[in-house]
Symmetry: C2
Subunit: 444 residues, 2 copies
Amino acid sequence: MLLTGTVVADANTVLHDGAVVVSGSRIEAVGEESEVAPQYADHEHRSYDVLLPGLVGGHIHSVQSLGRGIADDTELLDWLFDYILPMEATLSAKEMEIAAKLGYLEMIESGTTTCVDHLSVAHADEAFEAAGEIGIRGVLGKVMMDQRSPDDLLEDTQEALDESERLIREYHGSFDDRIRYAVTPRFAVSCTEECLRGARELADAYDGVRIHTHASENRNEIETVKDDTGMRNIHWLDEVGLTGEDVVLAHCVWTDESEREVLAKTGTHVTHCPSSNMKLASGIAPVWDYLDRGINVALGNDGPPCNNTLDAFTEMRQASLLQKVDRLDPTATPASEIFEMATINGAKAAGFDELGAIREGWRADIIGLSTDLTRATPLHDVLSHLVFAAHGDDVRFTMVDGTVLQDEGNVTTIDAETVRREASEICLDMDLEEARRSAQKQKP
Amino acid sequence: MLLTGTVVADANTVLHDGAVVVSGSRIEAVGEESEVAPQYADHEHRSYDVLLPGLVGGHIHSVQSLGRGIADDTELLDWLFDYILPMEATLSAKEMEIAAKLGYLEMIESGTTTCVDHLSVAHADEAFEAAGEIGIRGVLGKVMMDQRSPDDLLEDTQEALDESERLIREYHGSFDDRIRYAVTPRFAVSCTEECLRGARELADAYDGVRIHTHASENRNEIETVKDDTGMRNIHWLDEVGLTGEDVVLAHCVWTDESEREVLAKTGTHVTHCPSSNMKLASGIAPVWDYLDRGINVALGNDGPPCNNTLDAFTEMRQASLLQKVDRLDPTATPASEIFEMATINGAKAAGFDELGAIREGWRADIIGLSTDLTRATPLHDVLSHLVFAAHGDDVRFTMVDGTVLQDEGNVTTIDAETVRREASEICLDMDLEEARRSAQKQKP
């Protein structure tokens, strides 16, 4: 396929009359339209105002999509124990499938082509199948919770690890290697040492399997880990093997100097989720400091109940604005740095090589946007537009691994109307009372 | 006209199958569709998923629209003296007209029906005419700058006041009283005491004329005012008469206890501009404290060069999230409080009575949104959706004073394509070099 438009190949390379040629799952050529297009005149052709690498959601909860707007403006523990955990405990396999589909649909529509996805304890197969069917690229993992968890979600340690291993064998590298596995302890608070160490063993036993968990999002969390282990959270994760180049830690809001040194030294990836950190009042992550230390920082929307969308453009804008005001420095985290966080840094965190920029030979994950909008007028600087003014709504074309998933604004691999209707119907009937009573027994 | 849908009449009143009847410029009836609609079956009928009061931009720079994206990630003084002031100094009358039209177009498209609009020093007539023609409701004012300003913008004090008075006589109460005047000193730094006192005299001399200025946005600003006057900025404004129920102060980021007491005691309105305060790294305004004291706080986008859009939905989300993380309290500034800031509080700041809610007899400024979107699925809570997930893109219907300005997504009172094309053309030719050299002589 021949794609033409303004090509933002990476944060430093903009071709104003550019062309990209895709062959199979890879990018065959990138260049000026006048040079490239004539050679591929017989190819199927699409033209969009702006073409850019697909965005990467470095920390996503697709299966929480049914809880969008369910518990806004709520205290964190109420949010978690009265709504989110009961919802996760309540959803049937079919409902979890619809929840996952709703999440992947929203990402495909709004330009996220790769996600690092924190599923739930049960019914992970449904999410893997849905991701594979819809065509998104993803590193998914079933959540493990083997202590301090509601009865409906609490697992036996070995069973959690065994189920994770079954899923690795079933899905890691599936769907043409678009779908991979991340061993996913929920967070140190809800996992025993045995579970955390087991996660590391599993990741080491299977080539390319990653580790994905929440870390140091919340001050209560780090207090609890300190009480349990005598250590700061990142030190504890390091102690049990959950740092390193194959590890993605979401949030990292509350870290001290020595923990940041560990993150940098071990090559651990951090996913910054600015909207979630603001909405749940977790705090402001020291992103500028992580970047200064050479830590790879990706961006993530977290889940719809704490965001409330999976629009990665919102997170780009939010990440830049939040660091600027926190540092009282308007030059902090400029558009180019943010664009890298949402593209190539995310690809590195997800562990896919040759992904996150439009380059010859690289994986063909590409999105196309319209800028025929008042909010895009004038267009002094396309990178600035993408970071500060664009929305996921502007995305009209989504390609993953060379396959078109959205064309002229229509998602091609799933019936969007049906997914939305089914999701709405589930929510009308959703009754969390029983699961809530159970979950509240574990509420601190 | 009969309008049906989910009617969010105000922050506490949602009619899930509601109807609104508009007659002339006023709302004739509001109620359940089943009761109201049959009585008005002969009326023209529109149906939208959600109907709500038009949003109010309590601090806007419409004529800065041509500078959208012109100077992102830039130090504040560079931003102002290298880009914004030179641009304002450079624009011709015709260019200022296009700039204003672009701003009003964006607001009408995205659901802002009333704006408190800070124009520029010259060519204010063009903005007044454009606002009147397009049909937005607005409180507009020519900017006054009579000290510490670039030569191209610097005015003689009396001439600035005389020109303001001419504009008051020409436009205050014009276009069926949709357009009103606010005397608009830029800020204390760029205005002499004579100018500031003159602003108060003008506002007192003409019934309904308001005062609108920037205040305490930036730490350098308050230092300069302290050096000039020996007073904190709000005390100085109070001293020269620029506080009171007819005064709108934009920003108020840096205020101390005694200044907040003045704001509360005098009934001065504050417009909070969260995105601008973040992007320019001004700081985080103590909105929760203002609200606790009973100060009326509105919301504003400021100008496209520091936002980068005029989408009021973005500001609702941003305002809530920013207060939550600043207070480390996820219950801070909940959706209902934010919705009031963007509607009825804004109407109060703008000085229009019977505006900012959908009530019988009130002014018919109403917008209609689509929620047939993945990002609006499920729709657990419509108010939460409006504040945390909706975009201006979702607005399909805009009515001001009973007149339809946007219908099924098409703006009816101006040719949007032409405005966008003309705006883009101006920007291609815009040469700020000469004005920049002049402006830089005044750069601190």
